[in-house]
Each structure stands twice: as C-alpha cells, then as structure tokens.
Assembly symmetry: C2
Homo-oligomer: 146 residues x 2
DNA sequence: GTCTGTAGTTCGTGGTAAGAACTAGGTATA
DNA sequence: TATACCTAGTTCTTACCACGAACTACAGAC
C-alpha cells in the first residue's frame, strides 16, 4: 500500500466527511446546505450579510436558502430595531431542536470516522488539523465548542 | 485558544478543502461535480454504473452530469462492444487537457493549505488521514497516484 | 422463447448558486 | 434641506445538481 500524500489525504477525508454529512442531513430531512445553516445559527442569530460571508455564499443565493428554511418553519427573519433594512435570521423552536439533533448525530458519525485510531493518534490528528484550519482562517461553519 | 476536537478539525478542514475545490473549479469554468467527474476519468474510462458508485450518485443524477459534460466537449460516450446496453464514458482530448490543468492547480492549492506545517508534521498528517481514509474505504474520487 | 435482471435514459420535483437589476433605508456633505 | 452615495436584502433569470419512478432496450437463464 502506497503512502498517501497530504493532498490526497485531505481531499479524500473531505470527501468522506461530505458523504457523512450528506447522509446525516438526509436522515433528518435536510439538505447539506440547510444543515449547515442550522448549525451556524445554533451559536447565534446572523444578518444575511454575515451569514453569506460565513457560508461563502452570495447574498442572492442566501435569500433562497433562508426562504426555504422559513417555509419549513426552521428559521425566522426578525427585524433589527436600529436598521430597518436589515434582518436577523433566527432559529425557531422547531429549528433549534432539529439543529441540535442533527448536530449531535453528525458529530457522532464524524467521530466514528476516526474511531479506528488510538486516542493518542486522534489527538495528534486533531492538533494537526487544528493548525491547518487556523493557518487558513476558516470561518466557523460548524462548531467551536465541542 | 481552545484545542479543536477531531470532529471539528475534520469538518472544518473539509469545509476548507471544499472551498478550495470550488474556487479552483470556478476558475476553470467547471462546477465541483464536473471537476470531480474529470478527475475520476483521468485514471480510466468508466461505465455509468461504476461512475455512480464512485461518485456516490444515483444513475439518474449521473445521466445529466455526463450530458452536460458531453455538451461541453469534455467527455464522450462510447459503446461497449460486448454489451450494447452499456456505455463507457471517456475523456475527450480537450477534456483530458482541462482535467490535467484543473487537477494540477487544485493539488497545488490544497497542498498550500498544509504549507504552514513543517514537513515532518505534514507527513504525520498524511499518515493519519491515510489511516482514516483506509478505515472507511473511501472510493477513490480524486487520486491514487500523487 | 419467455422471464427476469441489468444498463441507462426520461421526466417531474425541489433545491443550489450566481450575476444583474432593483427597492428601500441609511449616511455624508454641500 | 437636498443631493449623492452607500448598504442590506430581494427579485429575476439562467444553469446546474440530485433524486425517485417509470421506462426502453439489451443480456442471460431456464
């Protein structure tokens, strides 16, 4: 078995994570994007602009994503007192519940991906990935507190 | 700075890789899926069935993806002599060229993500990710030979 | 020669993503 | 105050992605 390069490792593990994420989302009746939206909003409400920056989407793309989430009763658009143009996107009760379930299930699954590694290696992997993530200033799409 | 868990590390690095992949694809006038298709086909031609399994797509999803790639002149459907139902999807000359450029650029960029790590750590990371990937039998979407 | 399974396609539905043009509300400044 | 500019979000159009169900056509088995 040839050793995998870093590039291949990153790409393929990312493919793996995507697959898990997709499957998990599917199980909860969500699309990946909707799941991501919910996870981001778990931490706090966001305006459309910030949300776009965090998710790496154009604002026009976001409108539709939020629309569909609203239609499903997962989030709400709330007015911002100081600025009548702006909007805060907030989880509804139902949305929060679903977000937490989905989040938990997905974490468990992803954790499962690394379950073949002994704990020390898992820590090492976490540290190394942490450094990569930090070096490249990834927006916190998923979770800070774990 | 709180240490990141493995789960967060995997999820966020995967987000990072996705972003890079998306940007790279965009630059070459491809969608992520088309880029992935081209990369898979670089190794060898595939039938629709195998292709679906490799990419994790239903066959009905694949028809359209291949259709669009054909329309852009990137791939061809070739008949299989022994089985008149079956089809082999093959890169065209243009497709191969684009695939190689895209592949190279994307690899360079992904490599760049880990460029902050000293070589020894990069190797360690590669090894650990390799084990994760192996443990979870990911289909080879991107690259074996690197 | 019929029956059954397999390879792919078609069709309809819903979701994703972008850019351009737009509305409406803020802000600065002459 | 009036004007000009900027910002937050939406709308519209276009192309793409993904799925399941129903379908066509061929292959293999009996």
């Amino acid at each position: 078995m040839e050793a995998l390069g870093v590039v291949a490792g990153l790409v393929r593990s990312s493919f793996l994570v995507n697959a898990v994420y997709t499957e998990s989302a599917r199980e909860y009746g969500l699309t990946v994007q909707q799941g991501q939206l919910l996870c981001v909003l778990m931490a706090q409400p966001y305006g459309m602009g910030e949300l776009g920056a965090t998710l790496g989407l154009e604002k026009s793309s976001l409108t539709g994503l939020v629309d569909r989430a609203v239609r499903r009763g997962l989030v709400r658009r709330e007015p911002v007192p100081d600025d009548r143009r702006a909007v805060q996107v907030v989880l509804t009760g139902e949305g929060r519940e679903l977000a937490e379930d989905f989040y938990g299930a997905t974490c468990r699954r992803i954790e499962g991906l690394a379950s073949g590694l002994p704990p020390a290696d898992r820590d090492r992997l976490a540290t190394l990935l942490g450094r990569v993530v930090e070096d490249n200033e990834v927006p916190t799409v998923f979770l800070d507190a774990l």
